[in-house]
């Protein structure tokens, strides 16, 4: 199964131009443009600056989580627990700060505790995967239940509201006319893209995804690197929680349910092989932008939120089908 999935970038006999055109990112980008054009034609509210910026606000949480998810999937792993980490971080942020709760920390301290907790949750995933050797799918399936359970247990289904005004700047405010959280996302996109494509760490992730044993024999500390990316994934889920709470002004224990599926969908749609070894941040960015614009455009065109989910599922399967088809054609040629 694994062998068929690696797009081999080097193809003898085909011109560099067709190579570029057949990259998943490019195909996706063309789909993206097509989708934008169609949606713009169907609703005049779609292609407006304010709408686009507002969509940026809405996609930030998925985007932040999808970036480390790209790292993880490239190494051949997966992290299903991101949505639950977001949930427990959001709950703990409120719980630590809650003026009528047991801790009553300053909000700044509560945010730091929440981010630290997110990192810790990811670190636990990484340690179990690396040191005990439990496959990532199972480990994070277990911690998905565990972390969501902690969120539910700590909150006892009570939400925390009434945050001070400054706290909402991140989730609802603007800087230079652009939603604040979009700056955060852009910052992390650039950082992760550079790490993945230009550093030893990034190169090592591809090596791990293609042949972990070979990577170890080459002196790459594979265990350490894997722990780092899972911890990073936890940290980013914590960031997403912070932004989420700031955006919706409350904490609930079901926050982020299903986020893992959106993030994985974005990554896979962006051309990262679910078996590891290939993929890019650019692809992931196009992936989550495409998903968000589809959601938005369809809802403007009068399709219900649930109807858009159907479209996204279909797009995901179709994109992979088309990509597989093209890969096979070019490999056979």
């Amino acid at each position: 199964m694994a062998a068929s999935s690696h797009p081999i970038e080097e193809r003898q006999g085909s011109s560099p131009l067709t190579n570029i055109l057949l990259r998943q990112e490019v195909i996706l980008f063309l789909i993206l443009i097509l989708a934008v054009t169609l949606l713009a034609l169907s609703s005049d509210k779609f292609l407006t600056v304010s709408n686009i910026l507002n969509q940026g606000r809405l996609l930030t949480e998925i985007g932040l989580v999808a970036l480390p998810m790209t790292f993880i999937i490239i190494t051949g792993g997966i992290d299903l627990s991101v949505g639950s980490i977001l949930g427990v971080c959001a709950i703990v942020l409120g719980y630590m700060w809650n003026p009528s709760g047991p801790f009553q920390l300053p909000l700044e301290a509560a945010i730091i505790v929440s981010l630290a907790l997110g990192t810790l949750c990811g670190l636990v995933n990484g340690l179990i995967i690396v040191y005990i050797g439990v496959p990532p799918l199972i480990t994070t399936l277990a911690t998905l239940a565990l972390y969501r359970g902690l969120a539910e247990g700590i909150s006892q289904a009570r939400s925390v509201r009434g945050y001070p005004e400054w706290f909402f700047q991140l989730g609802q405010g603007e800087v230079l006319g652009v939603p604040t959280q979009l700056w955060v996302l852009v910052f992390f996109v650039i950082v992760t893209a550079i790490i993945l494509s230009r550093t030893v760490f990034g190169r090592s992730l591809y090596a791990i995804g293609n042949n972990e044993l070979g990577a170890r024999f080459s002196g790459i500390p594979t265990g350490l690197y894997k722990i780092i990316i899972y911890a990073f994934s936890g940290f980013m889920s914590g960031m997403a929680a912070w932004i989420f709470v700031s955006r919706v002004t409350t904490t609930r224990s079901d926050m982020g349910s299903g986020l893992e599926l959106d993030a994985i969908a974005a990554v896979v749609l962006g051309g990262t092989s679910i078996f590891g070894g290939t993929g890019s941040i650019v692809g992931t960015v196009i992936g989550f932008v495409l998903i968000q614009l589809l959601k938005n455009g369809l809802s403007l065109a009068g399709v219900t939120t649930d109807g858009t989910i159907v479209v996204i599922g279909t797009v995901l399967i179709l994109a992979i089908l088309i990509n597989n088809f093209i890969q096979r054609r070019t490999n056979a040629a």
Partner: protein, 348 residues
């Protein structure tokens, strides 16, 4: 420990009765035994703290409550053994349950409203199988997409309206055997889901153990390349696995839809996770290749028992999922340690 953990090293034993016993033991391999032990320990300890926990009524509820999960977990067990995953089962159960209810209130014969979901389940399974086996899309991606399609599609079509006024004979899950007594033992009324769960599990265990195709699932999961070279059609096996999974999901959906007097026509949240949990905790090897539906059934009952126990020992049910998470981790860790010891003992 049982025979699987310590392979008999000598060739001396040749009597077939001995082999039969060891085979019998290996059917109920150690993971299942451990689970059964945990289940009994839980029932005993919580029961001694609060006798109402093991009173007949609650006892039957524990077995009954998760029967549909156990049935769905049979299919999931096969899927995982073949080294695949299906995360769309929860959504599919929601959709098939709604189909069942809709048929029933629109005047279809009861048996039609029970049968159609199973057939549709098989069809959806065939579609997944086709995409996985023939189009070579990883099952996690296929079922991820399908999950969205089913979930969104269901609410779009039904607008989340509840189905009520279901006809009298529709409630399969509420039917019971008559209570009777034999030789002074009084046998209580047993709800049909428990019987269906036991019978299906038994059939599945026997089929996976004794049929050519059943064994081939293990082969495909254990060494797909080898299976291909030795002439087993991986594609056909994968199709079979996903179609069967669809059938079990269909039956589970009927049990789910017929247990309450209303059908919510939405997707039960986190249901796929409970089913996968039952299969994994039940001893489907996380590394592919091992596992029986029997373990999945016990695991499903265990989850139900834990949920119920929280109520009886007065812990907030909001902690249920945390307990489940810890349970999966602990079983998986135990499995890893057991494997490591086995590997060390066999010297490889």
């Amino acid at each position: 420990m049982t025979a699987t953990a310590k392979p008999v090293p000598t060739p001396a034993r040749r009597d077939d009765t001995g082999n039969f016993v060891s085979r019998l033991i290996s059917i109920v391999s150690s993971q299942e035994i451990i689970l059964l032990f945990v289940l009994i320990a839980l029932l005993a300890s919580v029961g001694s703290a609060n006798p109402r926990y093991v009173a007949e009524r609650n006892f039957i509820n524990i077995f009954n409550g998760n029967a549909y999960i156990a049935v769905a977990a049979i299919g999931m067990t096969m899927v995982i053994i073949s080294r695949n995953i299906d995360i769309s089962v929860g959504s599919l159960i929601g959709v098939l349950g709604t189909i069942s209810g809709t048929l029933a209130i629109n005047g279809s014969p009861i048996w039609v409203s029970w049968l159609v979901p199973i057939l549709v389940g098989a069809l959806v399974g065939a579609a997944i199988g086709f995409m996985v086996a023939y189009l070579r899309i990883p099952s996690i991606v296929v079922t991820l997409g399908l999950l969205s399609i089913l979930k969104g599609g269901l609410i779009t079509v039904t607008s989340g309206e509840w189905i009520t006024d279901l006809p009298e004979g529709f409630f399969l899950a509420q039917m019971k055997t008559p209570a009777f007594s034999i030789l002074g033992l009084s046998i209580p009324a047993i709800p049909s889901p428990i019987i269906i769960m036991f019978v299906l599990t038994l059939i599945a265990v026997l089929w996976m153990r004794y049929s050519q195709t059943g064994r081939a699932i293990y082969a495909v999961g254990g060494n797909a390349e080898a299976a291909r070279l030795s002439g087993i059609s991986e594609k056909r096996i994968l199709m079979t696995v996903f179609i069967l999974n669809g059938v079990f999901v269909g039956i589970a959906a009927v049990l789910w839809a017929t247990q309450l007097s209303i059908i919510q026509s939405t997707v039960p949240p986190g249901l796929e996770l409970q089913i996968i949990t039952a299969a994994v905790v039940g001893g489907v090897s996380i590394l592919g290749g091992v596992g029986t539906a029997f373990g999945a059934m016990i695991a499903a009952i265990l989850l139900s028992a834990i949920n119920s126990a929280l109520v009886f020992i007065d812990i907030s049910p909001y902690w249920f999922r945390a307990v489940v998470g810890i349970l999966i981790l602990v079983t998986v860790l135990a499995d890893m340690l057991r494997r490591r010891r086995t590997a060390a003992a066999s010297g490889d």
